[in-house]
Each structure stands twice: as structure tokens, then as C-alpha cells.
Point group: C2
Chain length 157, copies 2
């Protein structure tokens, strides 16, 4: 059971202290996600990458010839939503849509040389941005965080 201690009473009303809201994991998760999201944009915005472009390119680099449907599945979004992301990556010359022999419905995705180079650079920027944001965490806390986030995701039906 969550703790709604009586200590709240003695706290000032004008300063941010414990509140019901702060006790909810979902709310804290959202706020932490927004911190990461905003900092990601600050760090990678000038490189022309939003979070979605980066995520998609990462998987395309790592899974050459992945189809759009499969990529959407891995990203947890709808196929329709992926079109604009791939359009943009293709427009920047980072990704190419390629026909697949044997099934003409499918478009396989492949990163170009430019795409791979841009990804490797962006990846280092992301690592640096995460390192800064997580610098207050102990290695144990970091391990637990990653494990817990994974557990939560895997609980998804």
C-alpha cells in the first residue's frame, strides 16, 4: 500500500512537498520522461533528430532490410504513423526504401552510408546527454532502473 503519512500536515502549503500526486509512480514516470524528452531535444535538435527519428534510424541501422510493419511493431506504434518518420529519414538521405524480391507489397528499409554515419554521431550525443542526466545515480540504481522499466514494458499485453 502507498504511504500517505500524516507528516503532510506539518508541511508548508506554498512549497512543493509530498502530495498525493508525488506518490503515484505513473505521475513521477511522466515527469521524468518529460525531463529526458526536453533534454534530448536540446541535445539533438541541432543535429536534426527528434526522438522518433532517432529511434527509427537506430533500429534500421541495427536490423538491415527491416520492413515498415516490423519496425512499427518494434517501436510500438501504428504502421500509419511510421510513414512520416521514414519519409523524413529518406528525405535527408539517411534511409532508402527498397523493393523485396518475392513480395511486392513490402518495402525493406536500409540505412545509407550517410545514415549510418549520422546515427553513430547522434548515438554518442545521446549517450552523453543520458550520462549527464543520470550522473546522480549509483550504478546499482541505474541497473535497477533499467530492469524495472523493462519489467513494466513487458507487462504490456
Amino acid at each position: 500500500m502507498p504511504r500517505a503519512t500524516a507528516a503532510t500536515q506539518s508541511r508548508s502549503l506554498t512549497e512543493d512537498r509530498e502530495s498525493d500526486l508525488e506518490g503515484f509512480v505513473g505521475y513521477n514516470l511522466k515527469r521524468a520522461y518529460l525531463v529526458f524528452s526536453a533534454d534530448f531535444r536540446r541535445a539533438l535538435g541541432r543535429h536534426g533528430f527528434g526522438p522518433r527519428q532517432f529511434s527509427a534510424l537506430s533500429l534500421i541501422v541495427q536490423f538491415p532490410q527491416i520492413t515498415q510493419s516490423e519496425l512499427a511493431r518494434k517501436l510500438g506504434i501504428e504502421r500509419s504513423g511510421l510513414v512520416a518518420i521514414v519519409d523524413e529519414l529518406e528525405g535527408r538521405g539517411f534511409v532508402a526504401r527498397m523493393p523485396v524480391p518475392g513480395d511486392r507489397r513490402v518495402q525493406a528499409l536500409a540505412a545509407t552510408k550517410d545514415g549510418r554515419t549520422a546515427y553513430l554521431h547522434a548515438r554518442e550525443v545521446v549517450r552523453s546527454h543520458e550520462e549527464t542526466l543520470l550522473s546522480d545515480l549509483t550504478p546499482d540504481e541505474l541497473d535497477t532502473l533499467n530492469g524495472v522499466l523493462r519489467k513494466i514494458r513487458e507487462s504490456e499485453a
Copy 2:
């Protein structure tokens, strides 16, 4: 499942036990947040509460006579974005805007009796939804998660 294709056209970019993407805390945070967000809606949608309405009402109940500017600050959103949220809560009879003697620019917010009742009920639904989502976590993991999320939020400038 990591796809351990030993023979790839280009050299592997990673330790290839898992994808680059899964190694980024920001990405895992986002996916976990989306799991919570979707389940929140499933659990509270029929009660007429979205996450924002719930968060705002929670703080209004807990900080009676809070102003809109102060509430927006606590929620980490802009004043302008709060207007629609308060409009909706007011339209449902959960919240009242009240004039403040001495400064006619300010609207203080107060939960009605209905609002407090609705909040207390919704709070239990949220607790139940979180308990289910977090049932695979040990108490230690849960404590660490909460502490870490707080640390991340507090690192925000």
C-alpha cells in the same frame, strides 16, 4: 530476443546482445510511461478522468485556494494550458473558481464536495491500477524506482 546473425553485410555496431535502442534509459522511460498512460485511461476513462484532470484535481484538493498560476507551476505546464483543464473540472462541478479579496486578477481554485468525493474514488482506482502494473516489482525495486524518478526530476533546471 536478440537476433544473433553472425554473418552480416556490414560490421555489427554493438555488443549485439540487444538493440542499441533498448540500452537507452530515455527510450525505456518513454515506453514504460506509455504503458502507464494507456492503462490509466483504461482504468479511469469511464470515470471521466484523463491524467491531466486527475493530476490537477489532486493538487486542488490538496492545496485549497491554489491559484491557477501556482497550479500550472506545480504541474510543470504553462498557464495557458491549464485553462481547458480547469474549465472541464468546473463544467463537471468538481472545481470552482473563486475571487480573491485584495487582488482581482487572481482566481483561486477550490474543490467542491462532489469534486472531493470524485477525487477520493478516482484515487483508489489509480492506486489499484498502479498496484497491478507494479505487482512484479519487489519492494526494494519500487523504492529505488521512486527515488530515482525523483532524482531525475529534480535535476531539471
